[in-house]
Symmetry: C2
Subunit: 149 residues, 2 copies
DNA sequence: TAGAGATATTCGTTTAAACAAATGTTTTTT
DNA sequence: AAAAAACATTTGTTTAAACGAATATCTCTA
């Protein structure tokens, strides 16, 4: 369904404004879908995002600041997000001996297992979203890059 | 800057996953920008969104449910969002005499004036985002429509 | 014309987001 | 070497989001 119909608006200030409204709408559409998948597992999208980043570096430890730098949203409260991840046993946390200001993070075994479990669910969801060809998906990504300038 | 560099990730499960990560990143990028503009005015994006919808119907009154239906995010707590808009004097609220379950909303004069004030600021921000041509913006919007299926 | 069911919004409570200020640590300057 | 500045993260507090349950009203059916 086209964005005009979904938000019942036919006139837009510009094609760019229309695209931006569509971007916001599509983002929320995606979040709603993902939330359904994540909720029964007791994990939020942001938490999942952090675990994904840590898995990418495993078995290295990574400073909190480095994680923040590459997060999709620059969550200012990474401390308490990590508190929650640690309570669930999904990550390990320790201060860096070489630089005691830094706190180092590493994904723990149960965290890796959780991501493992989620993989088929994620792929299943991805399959439902097969409306774009690989070429179109690439094009979309490139347009988003260009949008940000 | 391309998404690969921004999130320091070179391998993606699929072009679609890359596009989705880019979508999420770009959304937050936009929200961060918009927040700077909105914050000094004491209004949030969601509140702005509601005012915009009400202006589109002015001088009609609109049921709360109708507003929710066309919102970009389906905020479940429109009641308290409207409380805040009313406290600031930006909207009027009254129960529908014909159907006393419904609450009707209308943007008030100060709300219209606020939107008026914001217009040049929004256009100014839009000008900074001139990296896409009209055709490319249309294409982006169409791809997002197609993504949702 | 009760009463069951559907609809539209609100309220209560728990939890997390936002923001500013503070803490502890390292580096740089004088 | 002491003081100032910069850095990395944490903490405190206010505010809003999330979610389910509740209220109030209307509609339809028996």
């Amino acid at each position: 369904m086209k964005i005009e119909e979904l938000i019942k608006q036919t006139k837009f200030v510009s094609p760019l404004q229309k695209a931006m409204l569509n971007l916001i709408y599509t983002y929320h559409w995606h979040v709603d879908q993902a939330a359904e998948l994540f909720k029964p597992l007791g994990i939020t999208m942001q938490q999942f995002n952090v675990l994904r980043i840590l898995r990418g570096k495993y078995p290295e430890f990574v400073p909190v600041g480095d994680v923040k730098a590459v997060m999709l949203d620059k969550n200012p409260d990474l401390t308490r997000l990590c508190d929650r991840l640690q309570e669930k046993g999904w990550i390990e946390r320790e201060t860096n001996a070489c630089n005691r200001r830094q706190v180092l993070l590493r994904i723990a075994k149960p965290g890796l297992e959780l991501l493992e479990e989620m993989e088929p669910l994620l792929q299943q969801q991805a399959k439902k979203m097969d409306h774009l060809s690989d070429e179109e998906a690439e094009l979309l990504s490139n347009l988003l890059d260009k949008l940000r300038g």
